[in-house]
Symmetry: C2
Subunit: 328 residues, 2 copies
């Protein structure tokens, strides 16, 4: 099986590539892995098959055709610029997040005109397709009414994915990823960054800033769960999806207060003491428009699963990022 | 006030132009009317202002900029190829219905970079943005899950409209028009054609074919109501819409049997006798996937209104298309 990952240099892309290299995928051996991104992705260690890191901007003429010419059987389309950047730069957001996706789909269709070709395509969508006001728990039939350009671009990607799947050009599934927590790496300026910062930094013995109240509730899954979603979507029988090809995924609905209780249980009061409260009304206002909880019944019935407690999410971070050890 | 109508040579476009020419629009006088379509639109009779018929394909380079250079205050964006054609020709559908809309929005944004510009834009969407399975009455928070390429293109247009409005590039409203009945003109091969054919043809003393059962229920509004929707949307205070810029409109939910009862009441048994039953399983299957009824609470609260009986719809056709007289 030949696999293409777009956005392979990103956090999830790297973890997915490592997982495919280490564990394969289902019954068919992974023979080739093409890792595309705008910066060169590092090849995963220990993979016996062929790895091709490709520096490519999908929206650039010919770039998508170049990737699809190798006729990958399975495509993970993760490439995107993030919410904050898509909001700050309208043109760049539409170019990367929409025109890039359109170019990829067009290249697949063009390849299919040369000789029959209908790859599995797993599209990383986002809960940003939803915008307030929404019910306390968002169900599977709730409308996509995004309040950001990023969410708009992802919602359009979902519509294109469904239409291209319906027409038989590809076999697509869209996954509305929860907010990924605990995100490894340095704290960033994303409005959602604090959800990870207040756990990751104290676990490493460093201070973190909490800009909102402990009552704020949000929807989370670990990086390991995200890789699990993508892998499960890659091998699922998509006939079970019907025409609606995008899914809200399982996750954990938790308040900031519940995150802190879990941190205390796993790492003690010393860790919790490293959280500094610094209310930021601007961030509080943004976060107030974000989904708090979902009833992802379709995805649960299809076998997708995520963590069920924040202690579990924290332990996964300690295992996967800290070598199983706390800083203190 | 300068007004641009795209798709001005179509049935609704012609009626809208005639209405604006005859009655103006609200308080501000209509000084210029630009009528764009891929075939030359006929200028409406009796208009005192400047009329510019323009032959233009919005998706062609420079075409949208040419239309927007005149800085219309109000744009009715009706241009589209119909559902059947968009399904038969995938590329053409995306080019006209999606790329054309994108080009129009991009031209508006470019004009706004030269000097402040934020026109009112009324976008003709469609109930084709909804796909089965749906509830018996579709509410305002039900998801857009189209089952045609046309519906996909309209749903994407709605998302782009909302994002461009949110960013302040235009002041947009999308109207999900019900099926227009009674459609004037010759019977066409659209799967929905029979809803109009079984009334229009007998009213003119001609035979019509009914391919489905009398139990089939669908969602209708007259051409006069459609023009009314567009006019109302053009002058409404859109701050009342919030971020969700597209609306399911009022209409009349009626069965084919109820259409026939109304025909009998208005034109007698002789008219009804001209309906020939010729079941067509292919058409029945298509129609089974169409919405039957709506609960358009937002649009009703905003003052949109449609007919409340099929007798009224038939009388409007007799007044507007038949000079007030039946054929017999």
């Amino acid at each position: 099986m030949r696999i293409l990952i777009t956005g392979a240099a990103g956090m999830i892309g790297r973890k997915l590539a490592a997982s495919l290299a280490a564990d394969g995928l289902g019954e068919r051996p992974v023979t080739a892995l093409t890792l595309a991104d705008i910066v060169a992705p590092a090849p995963p260690p220990g993979f016996a098959g062929a790895v091709a890191p490709v520096v490519a901007d999908l929206a650039a003429p010919g770039a998508a055709a170049g990737l699809i010419g190798a006729r990958p059987d399975l495509i993970f389309h993760l490439a995107a610029i993030v919410s904050g950047e898509a909001e700050a730069d309208f043109d760049k957001g539409y170019r990367i997040n929409l025109a890039g996706t359109e170019a990829l789909f067009a290249a697949i269709r063009a390849e299919g005109r040369r000789a029959p070709y209908r790859p599995r395509l797993v599209f990383a969508s986002s809960i940003a397709v939803f915008g307030a006001p929404f019910p306390e728990r968002i169900g599977d039939e709730f409308l996509c009414a995004p309040l950001t350009s990023y969410g708009t671009q992802k919602a359009i990607g979902e519509l294109l994915l469904a239409d291209h799947s319906r027409r038989g050009f590809l076999d697509g599934i869209g996954l509305r990823l929860p907010t990924i927590c605990i995100r490894p790496g340095a704290p960033n300026k994303a409005a959602s960054g604090f959800f990870s910062n207040i756990l990751r930094e104290p676990l490493a013995g460093r201070e973190a800033v909490l800009p909102v109240s402990e009552e704020v509730r949000h929807w989370h899954a670990s990086p390991r769960a995200a890789v699990g979603f993508l892998r499960h979507a890659a091998t699922l029988d998509l006939a079970r999806l019907g025409a609606r090809r995008s899914l809200s995924l399982p996750g954990l609905s938790a308040t900031v207060g519940e995150q802190i209780v879990a941190l205390r249980a796993v790492a003690g009061e010393r860790a919790v003491a490293l959280i500094r409260r610094e209310p930021d009304p601007a961030i509080a206002a943004i976060v107030a428009g974000w989904p708090r909880d979902f009833a992802p019944e379709r995805a649960l019935a299809l076998g997708f699963c995520a963590e069920t407690s924040f202690e579990e999410i924290i332990r996964i971070h300690i295992e996967d990022e800290l070598g199983g050890r706390l800083a203190f």
